[in-house]
């Protein structure tokens, strides 16, 4: 057949429909998250000194290195470019205590990527949030080092160096709200400044990387659950605002629980997920042996995500309600 109209110098493509695609790409979303983490990183340096950059750097380098190495061993295409390992490294670094030892950081980073992610098949297949897996591993392996806190640079209190939650748990001391909002308190590198986290978090929601449902559910949840206890006994139990700002809750809210891979797919599921985390956080903080429970709460809810998904599939169009 005569087809002068079709250029014969190269082969046209034969693909399945649809033939056009949106501009969104995984890579782009990943780098947005990296950008959103910058305020938290800055707050870490401001409050705890420049050494903290080394911790984060170590974490990032080892995360990326591990990912690269494992893909090499598995003879798969390297996926370092998509930025996910960088994010894991950043997140892990930012939830470690200030002046944490670099060698332990490296161990945690390797564990995060190797066991938290790659052993499940790599990006997109992991069940648990890799950074939290790394943190939980470090918590279990080096429980003393990881609960040794340093005072922030502008601290008025020179004696105690505990986090507000530990101060509450063991000594029944409440920290006031204002330093907690700015970040002038003891705690993990990136977790102390609510302000910096909010800037990053709102940016993520604004550009559409993060769905608002999970953060909203978590915040609403903690206010409700903490509020109930607070109303029962305001002396014994901390108020909701304290619960919201203390520890890693906000950081977990915006950067950990919203991780695409390990959070539910469906909107109903996202609400259940967020509320579940908030509930577990309150329960662990109040009844548990540990002062902080955000990490465990998110990990536990991560583990039930498949089940949440399963039972919250949306009603298929046209099916009886």
């Amino acid at each position: 057949m005569e087809t002068k109209s079709v250029n014969p110098s190269y082969k046209l493509e034969l693909t399945s429909s649809p033939h056009v695609h949106s501009r969104w790409s995984t890579k782009q979303a990943m780098w947005f998250v990296v950008i959103a983490l910058i305020p938290a990183l800055v707050s870490a340096v401001v409050f705890f000194g420049p050494y903290q950059l080394l911790i984060v750097l170590t974490s990032v380098v080892f995360c990326v290195g591990t990912e690269f190495l494992i893909k090499k061993i598995r003879k798969r295409k390297t996926t370092v470019g998509d930025g996910s390992a960088v994010i894991t490294g950043l997140l892990l670094g930012l939830i470690l205590p200030p002046n944490f030892s670099l060698s332990s950081t490296a161990i945690g980073a390797v564990f995060s990527i190797a066991i938290g992610k790659e052993v499940f098949g790599g990006l997109g297949y992991n069940i648990f949030n890799p950074a939290l897996v790394g943190r939980a591993f470090l918590q279990a392996a080096f429980p003393v080092a990881i609960t040794t806190w340093t005072n922030p640079n502008f601290s008025v209190d020179t004696v105690t160096s505990a986090t507000p939650l530990a101060a509450y748990k063991f000594d029944k001391i409440f920290t006031s709200i204002q330093p907690m909002f700015l970040g002038n308190i003891g705690g993990s590198l990136g977790e102390t400044s609510a302000l910096a986290i909010l800037i990053g978090g709102i940016f993520l929601i604004a550009v559409g990387v993060v769905n608002y449902r999970v953060p909203l559910a978590m915040i609403v949840g903690i206010l409700i659950f903490a509020g109930v206890f607070w109303m029962i006994d305001p002396v014994k139990y901390p108020n909701p605002a304290f619960q919201l700002l203390a520890g890693g809750f906000l950081f977990g809210t915006f950067f950990m629980a919203t991780d695409w891979v390990t959070s539910p797919l469906t909107s109903k599921g996202m609400w259940i997920f967020g509320l579940g985390i908030a509930f577990l956080v309150v329960v662990i903080r109040i009844f548990g042996g540990l002062p902080e429970g955000v990490m465990y709460a998110i990990l536990i809810m991560n583990s039930v995500v498949p089940i949440i998904n399963r039972y919250t599939y949306p009603r298929i169009f046209g099916e009886a309600k």
Partner: protein
């Protein structure tokens, strides 16, 4: 309150599977479908409660008065085995659908160390009959919970690209490890 603590302790804090390592075989085996995990969990819980009652009676009303503590293991296992067999027969007679849902898991339960572990623990801890029942219920609930979560994850893992040497049992073990890590959050809650 005491009973509540026994229940929570057995179900979550000192979960049979994740911190006491009892019932690992069925945990690894029957956790590949949520439906069968739930059925298995229910069957185990049922048998656990029955075992708690029967072994309590056997231990505290027969073995101890007659100073036969040394017969604990063989008599417990025989009782459990016949109990399971009996339950299987009853279910089969009473309801075929129930048998298809629960009954087929019963042969597995005989060799499930969680059941015998339960019987041994309750005699060791000298629980009362009521406490034993609650303990059995809690242990069963904890087992079901772990199995159900694991099944959910494994259904998901079916769809993933786990490195070949890690497929199957190794990845299940690693997942269980991470699950145990996550459940450490409940430590100290008793």
């Amino acid at each position: 309150m005491d009973l509540f603590i026994i229940f929570i302790s057995a179900a979550i804090v000192n979960n049979f599977v994740l911190s006491l390592f009892l019932g690992i075989c069925p945990f690894l085996g029957v956790s590949n479908k949520t439906s069968s995990a739930l059925s298995m969990g229910m069957a185990v819980t049922f048998v656990m409660v029955l075992t708690a009652i029967v072994s309590w009676i056997l231990y505290f009303l027969i073995l101890i008065p007659f100073k036969l503590e040394f017969l604990q293991i063989p008599s417990f296992i025989l009782v459990i085995a016949s109990l399971v067999q009996f339950v299987e027969m009853v279910i089969k007679k009473v309801s075929q659908p129930l048998y298809r849902a629960l009954g087929i898991f019963l042969p597995l339960i005989t060799t499930n160390c969680a059941i015998l572990g339960l019987a041994l623990l309750l005699s060791m801890r000298e629980y009362s009959l009521i406490q034993s029942i609650i303990f059995g219920l809690g242990a069963g609930a904890g087992f079901t919970l772990a199995l159900f979560i694991m099944a959910g994850i494994r259904e998901e893992l079916e769809l993933t690209d786990v490195p070949k040497p890690f497929r199957g049992v190794p990845i299940s073990l690693i997942t269980a490890g991470l699950l145990a890590l996550a459940f450490m959050g409940f430590a100290g809650m008793i």
